[in-house]
């Protein structure tokens, strides 16, 4: 009796990874992204008041969030900051989503995309887009600085979790200023995912090729997001951080105790 044909299975996985890597983000995945970004502006600005009183500021906020990774990575790489706005089809598509999200009759669009089953699909599509942005960011950075590995990781994080960095600036457009927090001070789960993924892509320590790593990243990101949405787990990285940070960066309590002794 023969064992399973592992070669064929492995070939099948390669095929899947390759197909996953060559997925086109426009328009399906971009639409999911735009929906979530417009929703983020809507919930962050506390409802529909902004959209009624300041439609221009509302549109600018949504565009900033929809192309957050593009804007910030262009700024960091010395490329035209307006680059994302120059892709006219993307801007028109994002504007259409923006209009539907805020001004659709009876708020039907918003009600539809926040209906849990649809929401989970949208969130999953968005996470797949995020996974693609990591190697995409590394490739963009490598064109400008071939050996700037730290820069590659930074750009991958910015492309993958750009909206988190843009949040404070988007608020500023709306006349709100919240300097007390930002994504560097309080890293989000998605930023940590992008950071780990970018380090794995840049260093190549895992014994799998780039397409397979991308597939793995995508699967993990979707699972994490769906889990976080359905349960009330806050941050799956917390336990690992607690174990790792203490020996590397010292303990807060230890510091406090030491200070007290001195006094």
């Amino acid at each position: 009796m023969e064992g399973p044909d592992l070669g064929a299975f492995s070939f099948g996985l390669d095929d899947l990874a390759e197909a996953f890597a060559s997925l086109s983000m426009f328009p399906i995945f971009e639409i999911a992204h735009y929906i979530l970004m417009c929703q983020a502006v809507r919930s962050d600005s506390g409802g529909l008041t902004l959209s009624r009183k300041h439609p221009l500021a509302n549109w600018v906020c949504c565009m900033l969030m929809c192309s957050a990774g593009g804007f910030i990575s262009s700024l960091l790489l010395g490329l035209p900051l307006i680059g994302p706005l120059s892709k006219t089809p993307n801007v028109l598509l994002a504007s259409a989503i923006w209009y539907l999200e805020f001004y659709a009759p009876f708020d039907l669009f918003h009600k539809a995309v926040t209906f849990l089953p649809i929401k989970l699909v949208v969130l999953s599509l968005k996470e797949i887009r995020r996974a693609h942005k990591v190697p995409d960011g590394i490739a963009t950075a490598a064109k400008v600085h071939p050996h700037g590995y730290v820069a590659h990781v930074v750009i991958a994080c910015v492309k993958g979790a750009g909206s988190g960095f843009m949040l404070n600036f988007q608020r500023l457009v709306r006349g709100k200023w919240s300097p007390e927090t930002n994504q560097i001070l309080h890293p989000t789960v998605v930023l940590k995912e992008c950071l780990i993924s970018a380090i794995l892509f840049t260093t190549g320590v895992l014994p799998i090729n780039q397409d397979q790593l991308l597939l793995l990243t995508g699967i993990v990101m979707v699972i994490v997001k769906v889990t976080l949405t359905l349960t009330n787990v806050s941050d799956p990285f917390k336990p690992i951080e607690n174990v790792l940070c203490m020996p590397i960066f010292g303990k807060v309590e230890a510091m406090a105790a030491e200070k007290k002794k001195k006094e």
Copy 2:
């Protein structure tokens, strides 16, 4: 009896439009612009205290305002941000105006340029400069992104109404921070003029050529500015907006009423 020779008249208009389009902005129109920008810093900072206590910050504020459109459009287009400061003749001219505005004996310069007849001339020259900045901005943006039409409109607005966007940053240099307002949240009349003009230039819907459109823009801008200065009309676009915004973006009051019903 023959009718008037319309062909000749049309030719004369073409000539005028062409001459208007080829007007050199340096130095007359730039001087008018620099005068108004230094006045803006002076009135925004509440008089002469800044100029006496912090001459360097005062100079930086004025330079930021004088080249506001240049700085912001350079940032957006990925061009050297310092570009406007590298035009040494312009910087020296602006610095001379800055010195006259703030440090002239007996404040004679300021008194002269705020004398109403002179002020109207200065304002008109400045509006003609603004009109020229719109096609200028479109041309600059088209060099970087030939088909990014949204980007063209954005850059034209930034070039035409740049000082309004720079206001908050100029205040920051003086140690004041006013995040609660900005030109996107509360669009100024000049921003609306630039936006409409830029859309007309980009789409080309009017049956006139670019030079004629520029002349038309210039005339409208001068008339609007002079009217706003002499009368207490606040915003000539308000009535049109009130009519257009309601069907497109919904009504604030309707929203509020709907909310109350639910409660």
Copy 3:
């Protein structure tokens, strides 16, 4: 009896100036700079709390300060903003210093480099690095705008006194926002030194060559810094400013008196 061979002495000075100008900043002078920048973040954030609670924000703050001149001058010159992060050896060295400064056992590193004799050496090395940054900044700016002399001076100041401009942004990363002050409003002594040095380099009014001017700048900067550290002199430029500013920019008191009269 012959007089001293002045030619030989002059040759020796030229040699010294040339050797000084060709000093490599990496790694010794960079290490001194990194130590002082990490110390600045540590004292500005009020001790070790930030390093224990937010290691990522702490690292980003230190990197922003270590490459402050590089980041700001890249932004102004339209070069990739991430450029300084793409020099991997420098980033790794700065990260090592950051780790030693904040997380070394028993805080030994910090205690060593704040021990006065060592501190004076570190401060002197840093000032020599600063002196080199002035002609370095002018050369970088001249590559982009050969005749933009104002821009040359600005870039030289940004490269020489960049950390002072970065201070407010570094605080923002830590969630603190201090808009009420900045280095333009309240110029530091080092900014004034860089400004004067940059003007001397750009105009070439002194009858010495560039290498000798660099040596002179370096000596003056070291002397000023050591004097300011050992004594409680606050600003050696104050008396000169008081004499020069009154006739050029008018007197604050005179203004106040004039206002009172009117009332």
